[in-house]
């Protein structure tokens, strides 16, 4: 087991390096760089720059070198000093900008993930056991709708609805007095209230996918030979469903853990922009628009690393769940 884990960790390292390379390449693809967008903004406000000024600015920020050199410098700094670069837009080291929001991003993402699985697995089982019943159709319909509506629009509709009904549009993650008086434990209630819409918005498409997967898998498993054997032994239906079918059905669900995390990061990015949530999304968007490349690059890198960690965790859980995989790894 430990061999398996350490092998995966080892492989993860070159993957991360490749990813950082790809990210950096993509980030610097747009024409120009931070300086050019800065200059165009300043120029439209009436400022004037000379060639020398521009050169000096570029040199100051290290933007006069070719991009692979910049990448190399960036990487070296990360590995040796833990320095992720400098954010031009915020005039602060990138890491401090990210740390402003990273804890919250992780909390929000984890909350949504827990909600997703806690809700969808039972619904999936119910749907499978009561196939074609009214309940099954209703859940399927809700599921489809959830997947079909782009989440940012769902966000707007829900905010509008909540505004009309309760007078409180629940914008942002914290109420105004929380922001003023600081965040304490007794504020959890407020926080959760504000989390309702983001959770529904961001979690819905993931939930629907998991429900459909669980339902399909349970249906598949419930007609397999071993359920017949168990039944012929005198095992009760309930035990067959939960002990045997569910364990096998969870296989693809667990595999999808990492992609679920990925879609949460995705969905939260846009939704955060619309709903003004204090997480990574809006920061990334702005950074991309002005080509604040170290900031944008680091945000993407952090998300990618979190997803790789998620993949590793899901692989471990999968091996724990399914003995066939454990054996395959041992033999491999």
């Amino acid at each position: 087991m430990w061999k398996y884990i350490s092998k995966r960790l080892l492989i993860a390292i070159p993957t991360i390096i490749l990813i950082s390379f790809a990210i950096f390449f993509i980030i610097q693809l747009p024409e120009g760089d931070y300086i050019s967008s800065y200059i165009s903004r300043m120029t439209s406000e009436g400022e004037r720059f000379t060639e020398a000024d521009i050169q000096a600015l570029r040199a100051q920020y290290g933007l006069d070198k070719p991009w692979y050199a910049q990448y190399f410098v960036w990487m070296v700094n990360i590995v040796t000093k833990g320095d992720f670069g400098y954010s031009f837009a915020y005039s602060r080291p990138v890491w401090s900008v990210i740390m402003d929001r990273l804890p919250l991003t992780i909390i929000v993402s984890l909350t949504i993930m827990i909600f997703t699985y806690a809700v969808s697995i039972p619904i999936g089982i119910y749907s499978a056991l009561h196939q074609y019943s009214v309940g099954d159709y209703i859940f399927t319909a809700i599921g489809f709708l959830g997947m079909a509506i782009p989440n940012f629009l769902l966000a707007i509709i829900l905010m509008y609805t909540s505004f009309k009904w309760t007078g409180d549009p629940l914008i942002g993650l914290f109420s105004t007095d929380m922001l003023q008086n600081g965040i304490h434990f007794y504020n959890i209630g407020e926080f959760l209230k504000h989390m309702i819409i983001p959770t529904i918005v961001i979690g819905t498409s993931g939930t629907c996918k998991v429900i459909r997967t669980v339902r399909a898998q349970m249906l598949d498993e419930s007609v397999k030979q071993y359920t017949l054997t168990a039944r012929a032994k005198g095992v009760s239906e309930r035990v067959i469903t939960y002990k045997y079918c569910l364990r096998a059905a969870l296989n693809p669900v667990v595999s999808g853990l990492a992609s679920s995390l990925s879609s949460i990061f995705s969905g939260s990015t846009i939704s955060a922009i619309v709903m003004n949530l204090a997480i990574q999304g809006p920061v990334l968007y702005d950074a991309l628009k002005v080509q604040d490349m170290y900031l944008a690059g680091t945000i993407l890198l952090v998300q990618a690393i979190l997803i790789i960690i998620g993949t590793l965790i899901s692989d471990i859980v999968l091996a724990a769940l399914d003995p066939r995989i454990r054996l395959a790894e041992r033999g491999a």
Binding site: T15, L18, P30, A148, F265, I270, K289, A304, I307
Partner: protein, 368 residues
């Protein structure tokens, strides 16, 4: 439904029917899939003839009527049946809020069919200026209301569907080809090739989709033609989704390449390429088609999202995502709720593709 007459099913007929006939028969039986096929057919045909259906073209605007609510079509004027017509619009100011409000007056403008309007190329081939309907000179017919520049939402929706419906299709096709090719090579040859392709897939799937799209879209140069933007966006969308398909294809190839019939073909002297094409692929083609059909909805949402953020299609072209950009704020929806209409088009299309995909999957499953 006379096209699908129930033939007397002879036992032999059933046993000898080809895989595709069987799939087709099953698909048609699936009610939701049937309805979806009709809906999608309708949507795509109307996209094809969008220029004809839309009374106004992309560049028409009239700032006098910005944010106009949907025009009501009346039949009776002062008690007399006049046929479909609209009233003229007067602009007034609300006494309290000082906002512009639009009020109908009594000028009657008849709705006409096959009117002459702006010129365009039907199906990209024939120059014509006929439109399905319009109103007499002086009147405006904004069936879905107008946007902040006074442009007709109805027209822009149909014209926008041309982009919103085709990008996902083209993108999914590219994904399909890439996924099939790379997944097949990876699965069939194994070894170093497989390793490299797998690493690439891993790298691409570790990046969350929308942030990646955002980053790539930000890289699209500012002043290029609409066609080029279209191409770029399609490529960006298919850039990641081929990985999912490739994984599936690879899995199938790995499990199939050790089957005896592949060995038999090899011994008979069939080339590798032919083995892949003629022996392996037909086995899971059905499954692949299902996968691709289900990719399309996520691409629709992808394009919509990108355009919503201002990173996708740019004017003068329009898509449903661009139309929805105007709904970014609560006040916008509260005051001009008709702007949400494109949302229903998106939902309808996505649902239709999903149901069709489900129907295809059920039809392709030999064990049901």
């Amino acid at each position: 439904m006379a096209l699908f007459k129930k033939k007397e099913k002879n036992n032999e007929d059933y046993y000898l029917a080809s895989q595709w006939t069987l799939m087709g028969r099953k698909l048609v039986k699936h009610r939701l899939a049937r309805i979806s096929m009709f809906i999608l057919g309708f949507l795509y045909i109307s996209a094809l003839f969008a220029n004809f259906i839309a009374p106004y073209n992309l560049t028409a605007y009239d700032s006098k009527y910005m944010n106009l609510q949907p025009t009501k079509v009346h039949m009776f004027h002062e008690g007399n049946f006049e046929g479909p017509f609209v009233y003229g619009i007067d602009v007034e100011r609300d006494a309290k809020t000082k906002q512009k409000i639009y009020v109908e007056n009594d000028e009657v403008y008849k709705v006409q069919f096959f009117v002459k309007g702006s010129e365009y190329k039907l199906l990209g081939l024939f120059k014509t200026d006929r439109h399905l309907f319009g109103v007499e000179e002086g009147g405006k017919i904004f069936l879905f209301g107008a946007d902040s520049m006074g442009r007709d939402l109805f027209s822009r929706m149909f014209l926008g569907s041309q982009i919103s419906l085709t990008i996902p299709f083209v993108g999914a096709s590219i994904s399909f080809i890439l996924g099939l090719l790379l997944g097949g090579i990876s699965g069939y040859f194994g070894g170093m090739v497989d390793n490299v392709i797998q690493r690439v897939i891993e790298v691409l799937s570790s990046l969350p989709t929308i942030p990646l799209w955002m980053a790539l879209s930000a890289a699209i140069p500012a002043n290029i033609s609409v066609v080029k933007v279209y191409l770029y966006i399609t490529i960006i969308l298919s850039f990641i989704s081929w990985t999912g398909l490739a994984r599936v294809v690879r899995g199938k190839f790995i499990s199939l390449r050790n089957e005896d019939f592949v060995m038999a073909a090899k011994l008979a002297g069939v080339t590798d390429f032919k083995i892949i094409l003629k022996h392996l692929v037909p086995g899971f083609l059905g499954y692949l088609i299902v996968n691709v059909t289900l990719e399309i909805p996520s691409m629709i949402i992808g394009e919509t999202s990108m355009s919503f953020l201002g990173l996708g299609i740019r004017s003068p072209a329009t898509s449903w995502g661009v139309l929805l950009e105007e709904t970014k704020t609560i006040t916008s929806i509260a005051t001009y709720p008709w702007r949400l209409i494109p949302l229903f088009a998106v939902i309808l299309t996505v649902l239709a593709f999903n149901f069709l995909g489900d129907g295809l999957r059920d039809a392709a499953d030999p064990y049901k």
